[in-house]
Symmetry: C2
Amino acid sequence: MKDRMTPAARMGGHTQRGQCAKRMSILDAAADVFCRQGFAGASIDEIAAVACVSRQTIYNHYREKETLFVAVVEDVMNRANAMLFSVLSSFPDNADDLEGELTAFAVRLNKNCICNHDGKFLRKLVQTEGERYPHLFESWRQQGPGKLITALSALFARLAHKGTLVIDDFDVAARQFVALGNADLQMMILLGATPTDEELEKAARNAVRTFLKAYGRPVAEKAGQQPQLAAISG
Amino acid sequence: MKDRMTPAARMGGHTQRGQCAKRMSILDAAADVFCRQGFAGASIDEIAAVACVSRQTIYNHYREKETLFVAVVEDVMNRANAMLFSVLSSFPDNADDLEGELTAFAVRLNKNCICNHDGKFLRKLVQTEGERYPHLFESWRQQGPGKLITALSALFARLAHKGTLVIDDFDVAARQFVALGNADLQMMILLGATPTDEELEKAARNAVRTFLKAYGRPVAEKAGQQPQLAAISG
DNA sequence: GACGTTTTAGACAATGGCGTCTAATTTTAC
DNA sequence: GTAAAATTAGACGCCATTGTCTAAAACGTC
């Protein structure tokens, strides 16, 4: 105790597992409390209690409440970005069953990126504290929704080039795809409730059906087509 | 000063304008501060300062912070409900130009109900404090989005009955109409920014075009139709 | 102008949270 | 086992906020 050096200052590879576990525990607890109470309403003491850690330990890792908050947001954003990248990469290159693939993709997107814990956290915190931390918000916007729309836009451009879709504005189509995918889940998304798998499936089917009615290649027999009811039976 | 009676207790019609003005001033200021800072972050002193009123006056009208908060939410909800009703009633009975009417309607809806001050307030507060006040949230959900979807659903049912639209699930169509209308404005809505009239118009046009491609009656010449670009020129 | 009511500014105690400090205890590395 | 580092519980000062209280001032009505 002769020199009093900042605990995590050197990170000399010495104590890793213990510290790391504490850090993660703190980050998780802080995310939980910040999400429920907001920045102003969250108390360090409550975070410490949830993390099963003493208050001083939090201050050892993060200089002050705001430092902890920024660290939490960045942590969640990193996880969310990784997940989004993974989901975006999951769309198959050759989609023989376009409707099925789009539906499954919408389910994955909603389930793992929008309706999950991290999605709820980011939406809520970005909305409440976004004006106070414009840098954080901008970073989220670019790497989250921005990347999503860009990727979808490119995907639709590819499909339009192949003649599978008929689209005049890929960016608009991408935003509309996401919007349609959320249409049936809006309330749950706003409330932060977690939809069931059935709800996710149904919402995605509704979204993709409408999307394809608008942007699908007009097949020759469309005029004489039945009013879509037969297709749902399966 | 002999009996100390609650100021607004009797409302004997005596002093109305002065008190009423104070009340409205307090409600407006509180809405502003609550919206920016959240419930926990808002301080009575700041609200008093914004309202140009002493702190004690606030406590004369509202017993405590929470009472004020609930009153503010109810006040904004009342205004928002009236506005929504007005917009919902504005759709003409006989729409000869369906695309134009739907577009204008979407503009009105977004401009006056979703992207305006009250809309931003309610979305933000319902999201942040909804779990703490489930009753308020539920009331908002029913009278706001619930009423909107019900009314749109009925409207689409009427149009489908007339043969103007081809829809199998009116509720889904209603949700999708709203979702499409917000698709291009999501970021601004989340951030609480106010879109320009041009942005509103463009978003509504994109939404209605896609909506009608999906649900519009398949006209005979559709197969040979130009890719919609000609229609935008005007 | 007089009277009752409302508003105001400021003081006040109570509460609670933040961030610091300390001394004791536990963990970790060697 | 030993020494360094990390963690803990608790106390502490500080500050902001809530909600109350009081005496003075402003207001509206007659």
